[in-house]
Symmetry: C2
Subunit: 337 residues, 2 copies
């Protein structure tokens, strides 16, 4: 589950032209989501529509569409349904995240929680989760329903895990990667799997594209962690060092803490706990310690694994679009210094 | 979603012997739920186990087991899985309800929310919902997955609807029945449907048992509404008039408000809003107006429809157990005066 960096990246993504081939697909997705509103009891519709106005980057729907790609004109209804499903799961997690983070603003407008209260936000999030799984079950392919339910559980338990580790300065790299796999990798993976499978790609292709999705998701989460330190506040739109201040140790800090000797480590943690750290000084220290270079290396490793998974599909038009997505995120990482 | 009346009714239920034939079934359910804990990431296990200690009346698992009944010894694994699924959905709704109601105690011990905080409670509720749907998708019968996802969405949107109607003194009887159908009827219905279908009962039997479940669920919710007024606080364990005090109009008030003239209605609502009403006086007025007799009549109508649905299955051992459940709830309603 990601934070408020969405809008600027969305704009950059749109400006990049990577999503341009998806014009018809995304329009069909919007229309489909609007239709879904009527499946909910009238009392829930206004708040549901409001949730839909909080559109994210739609990376997951893009993964679905490109993984099952034919061409710009052909918009297969089953892909639209699958894209809506993963987007709804993602939206539900955001709705609940905003309650937990006491977040009042998302994408420059009030969150559902701020506008309708926690009662509606908790229940509507639940209803959106359930509706997503209902949409999935309309496919008659029970293994897709299973994969999606599994991913949903992993996202939520990944968050519980991360919450439990808050303030634990000894989180291992293994645990970090397991957590981002659960929090972001799983749903990216399922998105690609759904696209490839529903388009009749077969088991081999499904596996390969799922692997691409998984590692793109992990890369994307690392990107998000780096941005928290290095992003320009005005363009990235999130507060520098928010993760650190909240005691959530992400990749850069985990790497940093591993490099400090016992005394330095203790002093650093005491400053973090007391909230007396200067973010600029911390960033400078981390940079000197090579933490961001290493983080970028981990990021690139993920994008390389992702690209490697698609190697046997070099002639697949959809795979080309997917690789462009992955290259784009990599270019964003290179930009931040 | 029901309130804290559970424990005393559970005890009465157990004392009644109605659940005695389920001894092996409920033990298998417990073992199965315990196994599920290991499917969750370690960080979520302690809180999940804690949720399982808050066992309710297990009316929904009982509906599953009796609807697919063979005998006391035969515990079909697919029924255990289905019973776990509906119980997990129910538990997840309770976990989220407790956050929304700011409830610190359930069944005489701290709620998950009180013990682990809202962060864990929101996310674990989500994870339990997702896991339930994953269990369901293991059946290879996608229509069951669909029915369960649908019921889950209806429970949550039913709650949203009820929240939206809070303080609306003009709620119609039709709306009331539609809301209790969503909040309680749906999951009872799916429980019976799962039991009958998984036991190979076929479409006709599935429909009949589903209808029984639906109307038992509605009856049960009416029972819950009456208990809020007439239950003895020490044995029923919930605060008299809590619904009224919170501006939630349930069957007795809806009927009462319909009987008042404009002046009396306005005075009554002003007292409710100001919180200056005396619950004993209100109950006496409502009783004089015949509101509880009417509520009981609505209750009995539901149990009669439920029983009628099972009429073609008079020789079915499971149907006999189900009718005993329904008779038991009816006897509880007769007891409160």
């Amino acid at each position: 589950m990601e934070k408020n960096s969405s809008k600027p990246l969305t704009e950059t993504l749109n400006a990049s032209g990577i999503f341009a081939p998806l014009k018809n697909h995304l329009a069909a997705l919007d229309a489909f989501l609007e239709e879904q509103v009527l499946e909910f009891a009238p009392a829930a519709r206004e708040s549901l529509r409001y949730t839909f106005t909080h559109r994210g980057k739609r990376l997951r729907p893009a993964l679905v569409f490109f993984s099952g790609w034919e061409n710009e004109e052909t918009v297969a209804p089953e892909l639209v349904r699958a894209a809506a499903t993963v987007e709804l799961i993602h939206l539900a997690t955001l709705v609940h995240d905003d309650i937990l983070d006491d977040a009042k603003i998302r994408h420059s407008s009030p969150t559902l929680f701020a506008k309708y209260g926690s009662h509606t936000a908790v229940l509507l999030g639940d209803a959106i989760f359930a509706h997503a799984l209902k949409l999935m079950s309309d496919f008659d392919a029970v293994e897709l329903c299973r994969a999606l339910a599994n991913a949903t559980r992993e996202i939520c338990t990944g968050e519980i895990w991360q919450t439990a580790e808050r303030g634990n300065a000894s989180v291992s790299l293994d645990d970090y990667f397991a957590m981002i796999q659960m929090k972001t990798g799983e749903l990216f993976e399922v998105s690609a799997l759904l696209g490839a499978t529903l388009a009749g790609g077969g088991l081999e292709k499904g596996k390969a594209f799922a692997k691409f999705g998984r590692h793109l998701g992990r890369a994307y989460q690392i990107f998000d962690d780096i941005v928290d330190y290095l992003g320009d506040e005005t363009t990235i739109g999130k507060t520098l060092g928010t993760d650190l201040a909240s005691g959530k140790f992400t990749l850069p800090e985990i790497l940093f803490l591993q490099k400090l000797d016992a005394t330095a480590r203790e002093r650093f943690l005491a400053e973090v706990t007391a909230g007396t750290f200067g973010i600029k000084e911390v960033v400078a220290q981390m940079r000197d310690a090579g933490v961001f270079d290493e983080s970028r290396a981990y990021f690139l490793k993920e994008t390389q694994i992702a690209a490697g998974a698609l190697a046997p599909y070099a002639d697949d038009a959809g795979a080309k679009h997917l690789l462009a997505m992955s290259d784009f995120v990599a270019s964003q990482v290179r930009k931040i210094s």
